[in-house]
Amino acid sequence: MPLSLSAGRSLLGMLVGLGLFALAVDQASARTLDTAYGEVEVRDQPERVVTLYEGALDTALAVGVTPLAAVSTRGSDGVASYLQDQAGDIAVVGTAREINIESVVAQRPDVILAAPRLPEEQYQLLSRIAPTLVPASEPYQPDTWKEEARFFAQALGREAQVEDTIAKVEQRAAELSEQHPQASASLVRWMPQGALVMSEAIFSNTLLSASGFVVSDGDVVKQGRPHSDPLSLENLSRIDSDWLFLATLNNEGDEALASAKSSPAFARLDVVERGQVVPVDGQLWTSASGPLAAEAILDDIEKAQR
């Protein structure tokens, strides 16, 4: 990231940011949010929104706000494919790991919606461009995504809309959970040397739980980590659940399934023999979060049941 190069530009950004900030205060309809870095004031109904977190982009689109810019999703140089239609030709200002500060400045944002656990250094830099909102949510909890969605919606002044969408997701998950009581499920990414098992606590797995699955990571994921190291092929039976969701970073899910099946250790799993392996989009299932992602994941779950 061109941090050092952008000192001059960020000074410019600071001036622009201060100008906009002053404008916001002028309107006297500001609101105050509790963020991970203390209280931050934002103007009501911000118009120029930049999201630096996939969950923030998702929430914004869900409540009817189209941000100017966002970060790319994992394994792609654009936003996640399930959001592409709604996001339109949104500007990309970096990846989740490397934000291009200059591009953010160029968007002249009113507000920046950032990822939880944004490093302090970056926060200092970004908050000179515009009020930067970092959710204080605790990671890897069943309700983390709802908390974050409410936080971002509050920043955008759309509390009512977000409650609607969350309620819709909850209701749909509850309906799904009646269809398959207590089936076990695991979510993995496949590599030739073995499987990466995704944590029980990541977003998509909390939705699987909410829709009645008993999600298991085979006790191989360390606390607070998103996924395990590649599981030894000798231990694949730990992911032999009723349902196995196989996340791939490309759209050729069937190809990934075929490549996994070419491994004798994978092919002999009961779940494979029963044909209950479901290839799913890794961008959606292992990178995204938010109400729209929840809808899309529930779509996948429902499709798998049929």
């Binding site: 590599m191 040397q193 730990r238 970073l249």
Partner: protein
């Protein structure tokens, strides 16, 4: 380590001894794994004893025959190929630090495969030839560097040149990862080598080129030994140094490319194995090559066993472990007072 004076033990005896050790390690490799099938259960399964539930016995048989046996066989082939390739490269570069992994030959091979993967190739056979072409490119770079003034006669500088090449190719491979993240998982395998999860068909695909490499090695053993006495001596004995060197480089490319194609880049084996073989057999390249055959798999399979046991239920990539073993040896070689010129 043995002193040079001790190195006159009869070669056949040492060869048999090392082969016996290798057989023992292969056996251990069938017994130990990262899974729940421990050495006891493995042993009874190997001996044909049906112990406990039928399902359990079936699981043990599967793990041994379908998972541990293939990777042990792969380890045998990869170890031999890398050991021999290292010894040859060192003889040609006249440098005890010349090692496919250190000098960028493996990196060249892995980079070629990464490009092929990005362009959409997936066939195993294609991968082998692509990897070999990449290895050949890496070899030629090494040779060019070795012939540069001031680099060739200073082993450490050659390694520096190799490190630059490796770094460059590694950076380019990472760039492919950035440009085309869709194949990220596939390519990640080409950054650190591993024996796990490879198919025996892959092994079959590389056997022809390994056989060819073996035949050529047998033919150039004597001229290489003569070359070690000096270019003029070799010419006087009726050899063609340039041709011999070229053939040896070809063999290294065949061997390194083949192993990279099936197991990814595995560093330092080509350094450690010839180093140990020379310590046992003395400076004659023919004796060294013979001992590399059992020593190479000994190191590779031994490291592979450790890689399964340290981070259960996951496994460490083999390339990480060989680097852990190899780096101290590298330092030892560099720091030893008499850095032999080969």
């Amino acid at each position: 380590m043995c002193q040079a004076g001790e190195a006159r033990r009869p070669l056949p005896l040492m060869f048999v001894w090392l082969s016996a050790c290798l057989a023992a390690v292969c056996f251990l490799s069938l017994l130990f794994g990262a899974g729940e099938i421990g050495p006891g259960a493995s042993l009874s399964s190997l001996l044909g004893m049906r112990e406990g539930a039928a399902q359990h016995a079936e699981e043990a048989a599967f793990v041994i025959h379908e998972l541990r046996l293939p990777r042990t066989m792969l380890g045998l082939v990869v170890g031999m190929a890398l050991g021999v390739a290292g010894a040859l490269l060192q003889a040609v570069a006249r440098n005890p630090l010349a090692e496919p992994g250190l000098l960028g030959v493996s990196a060249g091979s892995a980079f070629a495969v990464a490009i092929a993967l990005m362009l959409g190739a997936s066939a195993a056979t294609l991968r082998v030839s692509v990897a070999q072409l990449g290895a050949l490119g890496g070899c030629l770079c090494v040779l060019a560097a070795a012939r540069m003034r001031g680099v060739g006669n200073d082993p450490v500088r050659l390694v520096l040149a190799g490190a630059v090449l490796s770094g460059l190719l590694g950076a380019l491979t990472s760039m492919i990862l950035l440009v085309d993240q869709r194949t990220a998982d596939e390519i990640r395998f080409w950054i650190v080598g591993s024996l796990a999860g490879r198919h025996l068909e892959d092994l079959q695909a590389i056997l022809p080129s390994l056989a060819l490499a073996g035949v050529i090695t047998l033919l150039i053993g004597r001229p290489l030994a003569a070359l070690a006495l000096g270019e003029r001596v070799a010419v006087g004995l009726g050899h063609h140094p340039r041709l011999v060197r070229l053939l040896a480089i070809g063999v290294v490319a065949l061997l390194v490319g083949a192993t990279t194609a099936v197991a990814g880049p595995i560093a330092f084996v080509g350094l450690v194995v010839p180093f140990a073989a020379r310590a046992l057999a003395g400076p004659d390249i023919r004796r060294t090559l013979w001992l590399c055959l059992p020593l190479g798999p000994l190191v590779v399979i031994g490291a592979d066993i450790v890689s399964r046991l340290v981070v259960q239920p996951s496994e460490l990539p083999l390339g990480v472990l060989t680097a852990l073993i190899g780096a101290p040896v590298l330092i030892l070689v560099v720091r030893s007072q008499r850095l032999p010129t080969l």
